[in-house]
Amino acid sequence: MVQRFLDPTVLTSISSLELVAKTVVEGFVAGLHRSPNFGFSQEFAEYQAYSPGDDLRHIDWNVFARTERAYLKKYRGETNTLLTVLLDASNSMKYTSHAVTKMDYARYMAASLFYLTGVTQRDAAGLIVFDDELREYIRPSTRQGQLHRLLSALEHAEPRARTDYAKPIHHFQDFLRRRGFVVIISDFYDQPDTIVRTLEPLRFHGNEVILFHVLDPQEIQPKLNAPSTLVDMETQETMEVTPDYARTEYRAKMDAHLQALRDRAQGAGMDYYLMVTDRPLDDALREYLTMRQGRL
């Protein structure tokens, strides 16, 4: 049941992006078998024996009254993190070989992250939509209505133009004032070195950078039964290709590209995850939560 609602194909039948995000997140949360340990309120963690020099305000006097021993009551730290999603809205994100385009998949993923952070964890979340320009910027905030603004921006983010990471990242650095999580959702059709070199400054500012590489199954393993003329969705370049090439050389090149991007990202301290649009969204959510848990 949970998987059915997390299936991207099923999600396309839900028109409201908020409902999509709610369905994904609540379905994902319900599917976890342990109590979530990522509350935002102050939570008791453990008792620690008092040692001189410790702050007396943290002594649990009730325990002292019962045991006449001084224990410090330790709480899990309350940390509000900041999530910024960089969404690639170039034309190549329109591609699909089945019901869900890469852009839709990216929207669902971003919306689910926003819902998870904004509603469940009360974190500040912001959005940057870019192609070769910075098209939309919503400052990370926890204000009332922030979630709706983010989802609205996602809904209005239609793919166009081509991808250029340099200019939006440059502007983005101007907006960064606080450390946080930077999630980049893109198909990363560029040279891995160029991508990582462009994104490295984000990491230098102390951000945790996560690359969600969204690809269609046909982009990884294209299947052509006859010689075909392909049109680049970003450059409009046409090219006649053969099934043999798509079956052999293309796949080798794509695999090398994916491997290089993963290696270069991890080398730069970034997390990289390949998201194929026919797979459920919970992988992305789990990855994000795992990282947040580990880094905080």
């Binding site: 982009e219 052509l224 003329t229």
Partner: protein, 672 residues
């Protein structure tokens, strides 16, 4: 190789279409959007090359389909020599078994020659045997069985029909339409000139038939024959019967011949006639003393020629007593019995004997012995006699009623029992007289009497036709002749008199045939001839005589009709010469003498130029018109059509193209 319709080869220009589509036209695939071509390389050249190689088979098949289609329409053929086609040809052996083949040893010679031709053929060659008379009789199917072919030839006996080369040509043309292979037609015949049709086109043969003529005649030989016999079919007074025969000679010198008349095998009269060279003369036998009933008669000539079968002419004669006619008239009317009796005697050849009686003497008269009763313009009939007449008609008798001026004031016509509308005295009116306006010529007494045209009617009684059938009307539409069926008999009404007061009919030439035919019609006596010609047809029954059995006994005493045929068949073809005994559907017995067509007696052969033309070798020398069986058509080139092969290949190529193209196109459809 040639083409019967070479202009259709222009359709081969359509070959350019698949060439253009496959090779010249750049392959147009629907462009497909892809997110990025970053990892693709342009492989256009290899792609087109691959596609061309892949569609090479389809292109070849499409070119083949178009080329074969154009070829099929152009109807290609190759000229093959007859010798090269010998294994394919059909040997058609046709033997003439007409009456003239009885002359000398012609039929035996023809059969011997036919057997030798069949023996000389290759064992693999198919042959068929037929017999030619007035029809072409198929004796075997096309077969290689030498025994069957030999038996068929040996089974052919002398016939009595007249040969018809026109029928041969028609049958061979019909047969050749269904046979694509060459046909060698070997005709064994005396090639009688009289067997030629009126038009040479009727005996023309198709192009794939080569004619080989085997003439078994010995040129034109002298032959005398009884060309025709004019004899009555019925005789009432033997002394007055007359037989006239015509004796003819073909290619004969002047000679004296004896002609005899025989009745039931006994010669009753002989005449010696002198015949000029190639001449004909008539011989008359006065009186034909035959016994009552049917007699078999023949006229014979002592010809001593090679065709003795045509020296005799058969005919049958039936002798019977004259039919009695009762003529009833007013005592004051002496004209009508006079005219009627005179006409009956003149026209009916003693077939009728007329009794005249005044109307007041009919009280105790009995009409039943009479074949016909005539009531001529009587004022009234005695009631007992009228009742007798009604019984007589109901039982199958016939009455002729003439309604003259005596009937003018009566309300109804006696016996005919239809209302009299009123009299028409045309002589006192402006027209003075009327003539016949419309007549039904299907009645013999109307047809033979010239449709009663030119007769002036000064008086007529207008009778309401009622249930009667109007045969003739005057120009003012007054019914003149009416027929009414009453029970088994019939009554014929003439709405005018039989005297020359109410009309001038008795003085008119058509009165005699009218009286004679009316008497025959009403008495049920037909004009019969006791002689027929072979292959003529006998009417066995009328449309009203269905499911009544008939009987035919042929000259050999056999019954050729099966029980089913005897109950249903309407006509019978007289295929043999001799006497046929008949029992017709109306119960009447009959005897018919059947003679061969006398044109068979003229043994003159067809001219050489006609024979050469028939063989399709009009320019050949006359002595080459007739050639040996092994020589013909060896140097002759015959077009052998390749149309079937082209169509067969076209079908195969079309099916293969469909399979291949559906495979390719199906693959493309399945693609994303």
């Amino acid at each position: 190789m040639g083409f019967l319709a070479p202009w259709f080869l222009a359709g081969a220009a359509a070959l350019g279409l698949p060439l253009y589509l496959h090779l010249l036209q750049r392959h147009q695939t629907t462009p497909r959007s892809f997110s990025s071509l970053m990892f693709f390389e342009r492989r256009t050249q290899s792609s087109i090359k691959h596609r061309r190689l892949r569609y090479w088979l389809l292109l070849s098949l499409r070119l083949a389909v178009l080329l074969l289609l154009a070829l099929a329409f152009a109807n290609p053929f190759i000229n093959r020599s007859a010798a090269s086609m010998a294994s394919d040809r059909l040997l058609l052996v046709v033997l003439d078994d007409s009456f003239s083949m009885r002359a000398g040893s012609r039929l035996a010679d023809a059969k011997r020659d036919a057997l030798s031709v069949l023996h000389a053929r290759k064992p693999s060659e198919r042959a068929q045997v037929m017999a030619l008379g007035s029809q072409l009789a198929v004796l075997t199917q096309a077969t290689q069985d030498a025994g069957e072919l030999r038996s068929a030839v040996e089974s052919i006996g002398p016939g009595d029909s007249r040969a018809s080369f026109g029928e041969l040509g028609r049958a061979i043309r019909a047969m050749a339409e269904g046979i694509a292979t060459p046909i060698e037609l070997d005709l064994f015949s005396d090639l009688q000139k009289s067997a030629m049709p009126a038009s040479f086109a009727e005996m023309a043969l198709p192009a794939n038939v080569s004619l080989v003529l085997h003439d078994v005649s010995k040129d034109a030989v002298p032959n005398w024959t009884i060309e025709s016999v004019d004899a009555p079919g019925q005789v009432w007074d033997p002394k007055k019967a007359r037989v006239e025969a015509v004796v003819a000679g073909y290619h004969t010198p002047a000679a004296t011949r004896t002609v005899s008349l025989a009745v039931n095998g006994k010669t009753v009269a002989m005449r010696t006639v002198a015949l000029a060279a190639n001449g004909r003369t008539s011989v008359e036998f006065q009186g034909l003393d035959v016994p009552y009933g049917f007699s078999r008669c023949e006229v014979r000539i002592d010809s001593a020629d090679i065709l003795p079968a045509d020296d005799v002419s058969l005919f049958a004669v039936e002798r019977s007593d004259p039919r009695r006619v009762l003529f009833v008239h007013e005592p004051s009317d002496s004209r009508s019995p006079l005219y009627f009796h005179a006409a009956l005697d003149a026209g009916a050849e003693e077939a009728f004997a007329m009794d005249t009686i005044a109307v007041e003497q009919t009280t105790n008269a009995n009409p039943s012995p009479y074949a016909l009763v005539v009531i001529s313009d009587v004022l009234s009939l005695p009631a007992p006699f009228e009742q007798q007449l009604q019984k007589y008609v109901q039982g199958g008798g016939s009455v002729l009623v003439a309604a003259g001026t005596s009937a003018a004031h009566r309300p109804r016509v006696p016996l005919f029992d239809e209302r009299i509308v009123g009299p028409h005295y045309y002589s006192s009116e402006g027209e003075r007289f009327l003539t016949v306006g419309a007549s039904d010529p299907s009645y013999p007494f109307v047809d033979k009497a010239g449709r009663l045209e030119g007769i002036k009617f000064y008086f007529a009684v207008s009778v309401d036709p009622g249930n009667a059938q109007v045969i003739s009307r005057l120009t003012d539409q007054t019914p003149l002749l009416l027929e009414k069926k009453m029970g088994e008999g019939r009554v014929l009404l003439l709405a005018s008199g039989l005297d020359n007061l109410t009309n001038d009919f008795p003085l008119h030439p058509s009165f005699v045939p009218f009286v004679e035919q009316t008497a025959r019609y009403l008495a049920g006596i037909e004009n019969r001839s006791g002689a027929r010609v072979v292959d003529s047809f006998l009417d066995l029954r009328t449309a009203k005589e269905q499911s009544v059995g008939v009987e035919v006994i042929d000259p050999d005493g056999r019954r050729p009709l099966s029980l089913k045929e005897a109950a249903t068949t309407k006509t019978y073809q007289l295929s043999r010469a001799g006497f046929y005994q008949l029992r017709l559907a109306n119960g009447r017995q009959d005897l018919v003498g059947v003679n061969p067509d006398r044109r068979e007696s003229d043994l003159d052969v067809m001219p050489d130029d006609v024979l050469a033309l028939w063989r399709g070798n009009a320019n050949a020398a006359p002595e080459q018109a007739l050639v040996a069986p092994s020589q013909p058509a060896q140097e002759q080139k015959k077009p052998d059509s390749l149309w079937w092969y082209a169509v067969l290949l076209l079908l195969i190529a079309a099916v293969a193209e469909s399979v291949v193209s559906s495979h390719y196109l199906g693959t493309q459809r399945e693609g994303p």
